[in-house]
């Protein structure tokens, strides 16, 4: 949170000095914390990893919310999983500007128990992904709840974000002040919107990435994803493959769209670094010192996907590993620092 605060100047606010372009934090599912707060709502959470948690935007109208929750629960049951319960996430919008307040969603968490037939974490992540995708079509696209937006639904990670300024993230979500809120890793982001307008949804981090820069080839990447998706097949997904379409949410910014594609590649069985290298290959053809194996890797994958190109610095995590990648020309500048720097 201190990092986020000290990078305040990299984000932006609009006409109001208290409505930010967006800020947030992604971290590991904080089991101790969730166990405590879910317990207070009479929800008994199983062991860590045996449940998924969704951070879901919804309408502030209770009746609408009731309807969307029921619709969501139906989807979960159809997917063979079980909803353990809902938690209304406490928020404090005292410091928010009018623009942010006027579009502020209701924040809620849902807990889903993993069914025993799912072989591993990834199988569960895949189920949660299918549920999330279906809920988008069944609730958001079907106009049951225009605010419906799961910013995360995972057994590994959770995202707290919004149309906030860095300083407001901790104020808006009192959860983040709790001493039990623990994670071995965190990804923070403060947004300066470029080609789309600020909104609660378009704040970062997304489910896997936080992004700084621009994807210049976006239209082409969307077109190709669109053209490819009817041919998608995966033994891991099986019949669920049809349920996740459209893969790309074209309402999103370039960052969300990139996240959409990355997520699919990861859940379809590639490691996270593998999928990232597939989407943002290095300039490999004429590289004088790259190994032949790596060149072969890039060559093979160039048959599967065109590069997502443009000045971009992307930090990514699936809650188990973390990494960062630069665009092929090294245009965006990421920096690393080490605790060995002592003043």
């Amino acid at each position: 949170m201190t990092i986020l605060l000290n990078l305040d100047h990299r984000g932006a606010c609009g006409a109001e000095t208290n409505t930010g372009d967006g800020a947030g934090i992604l971290m590991q599912v904080p089991h101790q914390f969730l166990k405590k707060v879910a317990g207070a709502e009479k929800i008994v959470l199983p062991d860590a990893g045996q449940y998924g948690v969704g951070m879901i935007y919804a309408s502030s109208d209770a009746a609408t919310r009731e309807q969307s929750r029921r619709a969501f629960e139906t989807i979960v049951v159809e997917a063979g999983q079980r909803v353990l319960g809902w938690r209304d996430v406490p928020t404090n919008h005292a410091s928010l500007g009018n623009t942010a307040r006027s579009s502020e969603p209701f924040m809620q968490q849902v807990f889903i128990q993993r069914s025993p037939d799912l072989a591993d974490d990834l199988a569960f992540e895949r189920k949660l992904y299918v549920i999330r995708k279906q809920s988008h079509s069944a609730i958001r696209a079907a106009k049951i709840d225009p605010y419906w937006y799961p910013s995360s639904l995972s057994c590994r990670t959770i995202v707290y974000k919004g149309m906030l300024m860095p300083v407001q993230v901790g104020q808006y979500y009192p959860d983040l002040q709790d001493p039990d809120m623990e994670s071995a890793l965190a990804l923070v982001h403060s947004r300066f919107s470029t080609n789309t307008f600020p909104s609660w949804e378009r704040s970062h981090p997304y489910r896997y990435i936080a992004h700084n820069g621009e994807i210049n080839t976006l239209r082409g990447n969307i077109n190709w994803m669109h053209a490819r998706q009817s041919l998608f097949e995966s033994a891991l997904f099986g019949d669920d493959m049809k349920k996740i379409q459209p893969v790309i949410n074209i309402e999103g910014s370039d960052s969300l769209i990139f996240d959409n594609a990355l997520e699919l590649l990861v859940l379809a069985g590639r490691s996270l670094p593998h999928a990232v290298m597939m989407m943002i290959p290095e300039p490999w053809t004429a590289h004088e010192s790259m190994s032949e194996e790596k060149k072969a890797f890039y060559k093979y994958h160039s048959c599967l996907m065109e590069p997502w190109d443009g000045p971009a610095s992307i930090a990514f995590t699936d809650g188990t590993v973390m990494g960062a990648v630069l665009d092929r020309n090294g245009l965006r500048p990421p920096a690393t620092t080490s605790p060995k720097m002592i003043w």
Partner: protein, 870 residues
Amino acid sequence: MLESGEPREVHHYALLIGYGCGAIHPYLAFETIADMIRQGLLVNAEFKPVEFKTACKNYIKAATKGVVKVASKIGISTLQSYRGAQIFEAIGLNQSVIDQYFTWTASRIEGADLEVITREAISRHHHAFPDREVNGRTLDVGGEYQWRKEGEAHLFSPQTIHTLQRAVREGNYALYQQYASLVNQQNQQHYTLRGLLEFQQRQPVPIESVEPVEAIMKRFKTGAMSYGSISKEAHEALAIAMNRIGGKSNTGEGGEDPERYTWTNEQGDSKNSAIKQVASGRFGVTSLYLTQAREIQIKMAQGAKPGEGGQLPGGKVYPWIAKVRHSTPGVGLISPPPHHDIYSIEDLAELIHDLKNANRAARVSVKLVSEVGVGTIAAGVAKAHADVVLVSGFDGGTGASPQTSIKHAGLPWELGLAETHQTLVLNNLRSRIVVETDGQMKTGRDVVIAALLGAEEFGFATAPLVTLGCIMMRVCHLNTCPTGVATQNPELRKNFTGDPQHTVNFMQFIAQEVRELMAELGFRTINEMIGRTDILEPRKAVEHWKAKGLDFSKILYQPQVGAEVGRYCQIPQDHGLEKSLDLTVLLDLCQGAIARGETVKATLPIQNINRAVGTILGNEITKRHWEGLPEDTVHLHFQGSAGQSFGAFLPKGVTLELEGDANDYLGKGLSGGKLILYPPKASTFVAEENIIIGNVGLYGATSGEVYIRGIAGERFGVRNSGVNAIVEGVGDHGCEYMTGGKVVVLGATGRNFAAGMSGGVAYILDELGDFASRCNKQMVGLETLEDPEEISDLQQMIQRHAHYTQSQKAAKVLADWQQMVPKFVKVMPKDYKRVLQAIATAISEGLSGDDALTAAFEANARDVARIGGS
């Protein structure tokens, strides 16, 4: 895969690939080549017919290179990603055509449907294969790029040029009106969108109640044309004219001779350009240059060639051009396509912040090009605290722009301006930023339409040049301009007959026409007019069959917002400078140095939220001491992690010593100051193995000294034109586009070192002997050190490094100096070396100073071996 007779130009291929084509067979292009060979129209240097195969190969090569260039302009580096990327906007196509054939492409004014397209295809076919045999020429003469009799129409025709020139020379408003009515009439004949709009009838007001010509002219600017692309005479005439009327002229990229800041005459004229441009090359951008500005313009893109860098061939870098650009005569200069300190909007915000620190009194303006989505970007620019945003139309630009760019890149300003104004109003940002537009503004009517669409300031480029004698020969890039406007050739410059008063007359005429139209439309002030699209309506009688389907509703749309939302600029931006370390601490601390040149020494803490530290201090010093102060007058020792742009534009006499580390853009535009960096004394890591500063250090630095104990990030020394720096390792792209100064690297470099480096020298301590594989040798040669004087200079520089930073690496190198010397690789730009040799020859022949430079320049211009420009 497409087989077609139609594709023939780069734009056609780019478009086809952009919409997914995997291969193209342009058979008619090849057949045409064969036919031209048969007719003897294609001959080689020996006047022999070119081989058909060779000709086709050359054609394919040119077309391919063109497509790659187009892709690179929009920041796409592989054809695979360009294919299907649909980076196009359609102008004048009906939505039914878009949905079916160009799905998801933007088309804002509707237009031709399939029926119209069919009709045009048939008529063209008919033209080629008429029912009856006809004699003589049957095909159009063309004239897309240059005016031809009976060819494609152009806004500036010989007739309009002549009429305008007579009007301004004679100061004859009636003649101007004749010119304006010719142009406005041509506008109507479907050349421009504004020509298809007309004013509604409104209750007029007496002309006396309309704001005066003088007030209107303050909103006028001339376009950014660099001293280098146009002659000294033309450049200065524009500055004098604009200063006379209280408008603003623009330096363009390439610096300005400080003599122009003080020059005056009995009329009280000034040659100081009010707008100082900061472009990607950063040529001549110093603390003094910025301090002398009333407005600082960041050129993000050029309307006529968006996404492209510039190139000034060696033959045009005359000694006087080289002087203001801080470069070497005869050595070509490259402006990189991007600003290396701006890859996304928050970087732009940083540059705006840095420039505002460099001159708090100047407005900071951002020049964008009219394209789809420009409104959203302009909103970002407003949030980045720019004071002005310029939406530049596609039809600006001199004859030096590439032809594909002139014709097919960028959009008319009407579209970009309308979108910008609407978006800013919608987000309540319009009231805090001035909106300016340019692009073939020629008459008062053009200005009024621009105001109604949302602009409050207006730029003119081609027309003012015409008032100074330009006759649109379109040879700007050839240095052969017969009127002395766009040439550096001293002989041709003698032909220059322009007088600033001619430009003044033009501006007055324009303002007068604006005023008359305002009276007619019932407006007393320009501010009242801004964004009043309700006064505009599509011309009722659009005669042309192809223009019938046009729909202007998106351009004329008025956002529904409350009365409290401002529609023109009325609130100053909050730049947050009062929170800066300079204003809270440094200025008070250094008051004695600023006012009286007293020495100041202090130790202070620093944090990464302290950005552009030292820049305001530098500005205050430069205001009073143009040449800076004596070395080390101010010596500030900081402890901690410095934020971005540490020491940006720091002038001579200021030394910033940083014990800690620094973010990106260290020493940006360094203007004589000294920077010393080393890790905290208590830290435990090995300094020369760790990165201590971020990326893009010393971008556009012009003079000064830098000592860094540790490794620098990527692009260290990019566009350095005069700083001497020592560092213990650099990332990729080190010394890119460098034109002067010295960089010593006591360690490894990343890949692509010295790309585009045309001047200055770098010394790399290559202990492993593998540096050559990481160096881009296109423009540089690698040498060993032999000259004893040079070796001794290097040794002294490393001694200073050891002294200032306690570097252990430097100590090791110095301890074993004789063994180390052969391990240094000297990176020497080839053109630079040739010119230095020519200067040495001239000096040995007894010449000195400017004469030696001129002789060297001329000798070099005759040398065919030059790389950097032909």
